[in-house]
Amino acid sequence: METETQTVETTTKKVNKKTLEKVCIICAKGSIEDVYAALVMTNGAVMEGIEAKLFFTFFGLDAITKKQMNSLHTGTIGNPAMRMPGGIPFPSILGMLPGVEAGVSSMMMSQMEKLDIPPVDEFMDMITAGGGEIYACKLATDMFKLEMKDLSEHVKDIITIGQFYELCDGDRTQIIFT
């Protein structure tokens, strides 16, 4: 009997809370942190049972371009939040030296691997396995001369911004631009 009461209460709570039903996330940048922010949010939504659409445009296309997707970098110049291990400030001039950006980037990736955050292609595997959808921007692919064959198999389609908005229907939908 008590179990039944709880079921009713949990259900009521869900109804009252009006949970988010869909998120449409736009990623326009191609650095590790920008791409991962978009991937974590998309995957997080899918895991919560929220419908998720992820749209890559401009430099964000690197994240779904076969050639680039698994060798993304983080910028080492002009990033005031960049620190060396131990919190020592990271002088911008260091970031210009050959190999520094690659070194910092591989360190970022290995730190994330320790937290069980997968490489880009595997992350997209996880997202699509849960029903999340990944799209490329038509305008930007035209501009960068990219076609479906250049893009990851996880990309469902190349679509216009108008088609993207069509995917964003529903009362409890949010569009997030990272």
């Binding site: 008590e2 049972g49 955050i117």
Partner: protein
Amino acid sequence: MGQVNIAGVAIDVNDEGYLNDPSQWTEDVAAVIAKEEGISLTDKHFEVLHFLREKHLAGEQLTIRKVGKSGIVDIKGLYGLFPGGPLKKSSRIAGIPKPASCV
């Protein structure tokens, strides 16, 4: 939230319906919680539940990636077993706390 009576035993749960004490868990408890989530448990479900409990009790943080690499089920399969919340629902049914991981 206090206690709920599952399979004739009083079980302590929090206000989101997760068990407060994983040691109060039994397969009968799992079946009742699963029913509430609209899931009827199969052997495959139980394999996942036992894996989650084992990892949780060993102090590991759980992610769907870890379950996907367990050899029990791939990630797509995990979504199939626990639709709409692979890690949250499976953790609740496995009698362990709500997952605190972002992946």
